[in-house]
């Protein structure tokens, strides 16, 4: 994780994706903004249901059917707003410029096709080369993700492989198009703990080899500490703090971030009780007017409940959306 990064490859501005249901509108992603530079790994952290995955799907424009719509915002890929692209153009962009690794390896692969078939599909699209070359490329791709005996694996079916191996295959498929941006949606959550570390190391290596930018979605701060250069903390549909990992860990400014970091079980120090955050996240259909963390915040003040705080700069490239930051 070096300090000098390239220019901005992905910029998200005020992204809003809402679910329009009969009962009301669920504001799952409600004004998310961040930037991702070439070669860096940005972590997107938050608890379940805060809108992380949906942000990723909104960027890929793969929203689930049933009332979800991106109603506002811009997603600039190399300066080009992909939210305005036609479906045909999006298809070209997916796989080649932006790609994604899904969470559950058990269901990410089609059970009736060999993994060789599924890999070749991805490769063939890019090069349109001859079958022999495509097969060779597929074997190479498997080797790159540390799968042993790739020549045999090519003819195997997903159910013949372990979860960790399947997730590597998914990784191979996702990067086969040499994307500039890779979105990893909790790629290790469904893996065994012992395999998780291996997989993270694999991702790191791939990232260093290809120089792609990674948006790493997770709920695990430990993973963030290991993998990411910068981190964005998400709560109730919005990003509440964002900055370099070292800074945010050393100097968490938003009360939610502080609470999250405090919740990570520590091996040293006071280990008697696990710290938990009281209360529940707000219903995304019924959001308060002010700061959304206010009901659970130990430092809540009056102004917190009347208006949503803007982004305050609290350090080098480090922002937090908290009224208490005006003092600085």
């Amino acid at each position: 994780m070096t300090d000098a990064k390239g220019d901005v490859v992905l910029e998200v501005r005020e992204l809003q994706t809402h679910f329009f249901l009969r009962r009301g509108v669920v504001k799952a992603v409600d004004g998310v903004s961040f930037t991702l530079r070439r070669g860096e790994v940005l972590g997107l952290v938050g608890e379940s249901g805060c809108g992380k995955s949906l942000t990723a799907l909104s960027i890929m424009r793969l929203l689930p059917k049933g009332g979800a719509r991106t109603i506002h915002g811009q997603v600039l890929l190399n300066g080009d707003d992909i939210l305005t692209r036609t479906p045909g153009e999006m298809r070209e962009i997916r796989g080649r410029k932006i790609s994604m690794i899904l969470q559950d390896p058990q269901t990410s692969l089609n059970p009736v096709f060999t993994i060789g078939d599924q890999l070749r599909e991805a490769i063939f699209r890019r090069s349109g080369a001859r079958n022999r070359d495509v097969v060779r490329e597929a074997i190479d791709a498997l080797r790159r993700v540390d799968i042993s005996a790739p020549e045999q694996r090519i003819g195997q079916f997903p159910h013949q492989m372990s979860g960790g191996m399947k997730q590597r295959v998914v990784g191979a498929i996702s990067i086969s198009g040499h994307p500039e941006v890779l979105i990893a949606d909790e790629p290790t959550t469904a893996l065994d703990v012992t395999i998780q570390l291996q997989y993270l190391k694999l991702l790191q290596r791939l990232q260093q080899e290809t120089g792609m930018a990674i948006l790493f979605i997770t709920h695990d701060f430990g993973v963030v500490a290991r993998m990411c250069d910068r981190v964005a903390v998400m709560y109730a549909g919005r990003i509440v703090e964002c900055g370099p990992v070292a800074e945010v860990f050393a100097n968490p400014s938003h009360p939610y971030t502080q609470a999250l970091i405090a919740s990570v079980p520590k091996m040293t120090g006071n280990t008697r009780r696990l710290y938990t955050i009281e209360g529940q996240p707000p219903s995304l259909m019924d959001l308060p007017a002010g700061c959304r963390f206010a009901p659970r915040c130990p430092h809540v003040e009056e102004r917190c409940e009347s208006a949503y705080p803007p982004s305050f700069t609290v350090g080098r490239e480090h922002t937090a959306d908290c009224w208490r930051m005006t003092a600085r």
């Binding site: 793969l62 479906p87 990410s108 009736v112 991805a122 159910h159």
Partner: protein, 305 residues
């Protein structure tokens, strides 16, 4: 996989014996077929003669033993009306029925599967409803009526197609349509629900992430998985076709085993009917077994288990 085949085979044999036994006892316990076959002025002597001729004398157990004994030699009795062994009559007509069944199945699939996919893609809106209505129409119209209607329109009024009997390709058209019509709904509904389930899968998302075109995603990735449950019902569908053929062959005077069944009913030819049912059971169970094996082969998760 081999264990699976053996297991299914055994199951089939057991089922067959069960069916044959049921047919045997059903026929003899629910009434005396003799009474229905004799003219009204038959004397008791005539009646005794008939009972003897049908082998209905002696205790039930004796009859059953004779029945099983004969059956193991391939003798399932003689048709009264046609005066020939029932098995012979059946197998001479079987090829004619087997000539139209695959076509009807093909027709039902060609109509039903695309309808199901289209309905699934347009879930909830007018197109979905329309496809559903078309399918339900296939079930609501009794096939005997559909056949007669088709004959009236295409044979009587327009004179384009013959009204019955076997012959060249033009003789096949109407019977195949009549036979396949009611299966269209079955295929459509099955494919629709199967597709809806599959379209939510994660691997479909991955296919889209790869940037594959929508038609490849739907027709290659989704449909292949959606068709697996359809395959399991093939056996049932073919069974439906074989029984549906009874009516269709009757309407179109098609000389197959369906028409044979009808004749056995109309002429109260009890031995023939009994034999036909058992033979059809063998046919249907055989096809089901074949389909189950095919399914085990097609789904890699089972084939390589």
């Amino acid at each position: 996989m081999k264990r699976y085949i053996v297991y299914r085979l055994l199951q089939g044999v057991v089922l067959l014996c069960l069916v044959a036994t049921i047919v045997f006892f059903l026929g003899r316990l629910t009434g005396n077929p003799v009474d229905l076959m004799l003219p009204e002025d038959a004397t008791p002597a005539d009646r005794m003669a008939m009972i003897k001729a049908l082998g209905l004398d002696g205790s039930l157990f004796q009859q059953f033993t004779i029945f099983v004994g004969n059956a193991s030699h391939g003798d399932l009795g003689n048709s009264i009306r046609m005066r020939q062994p029932a098995v012979e009559a059946f197998f001479s007509r079987l090829p004619n029925t087997l000539a139209i069944i695959p076509w009807a199945l093909l027709l039902a699939m060609c109509a039903g599967i695309p309808l199901g996919v289209i309905a699934a893609l347009n879930r909830g809106n007018m197109i979905d409803r329309a496809a559903g209505t078309v399918a339900v129409l296939g079930i609501a119209m009794p096939s005997f009526w559909l056949g007669i209607l088709l004959i009236y329109v295409f044979s009587v009024e327009l004179g384009w197609l013959p009204s019955g009997r076997m012959g060249g390709p033009e003789h096949y058209v109407l019977p195949v349509i009549t036979l396949g019509a009611f299966l269209v709904a079955g295929f459509m509904r099955l494919v629709r629900s199967s597709m809806l389930e599959v379209m939510e899968s994660e691997f479909v998302k991955l296919a889209r992430i790869k940037g594959l075109s929508e038609s490849v995603v739907i027709w290659k990735h989704c449909l292949r998985n959606a068709l697996i449950p359809v395959l399991t019902l093939w056996g049932v569908f073919v069974g439906n076709l074989i029984t549906g053929a009874i009516v269709t062959e009757t309407v179109f005077a098609w000389p197959g085993v369906g028409r044979l069944t009808y004749e056995a009913v109309i002429f109260r030819d009890f031995p023939l009917l009994q034999a036909v049912i058992i033979l059809k059971a063998i046919l249907i169970l055989g096809i089901n077994l074949f389909v189950d094996i095919l399914y085990a082969y097609v789904d890699p998760r089972i084939r390589l288990a």
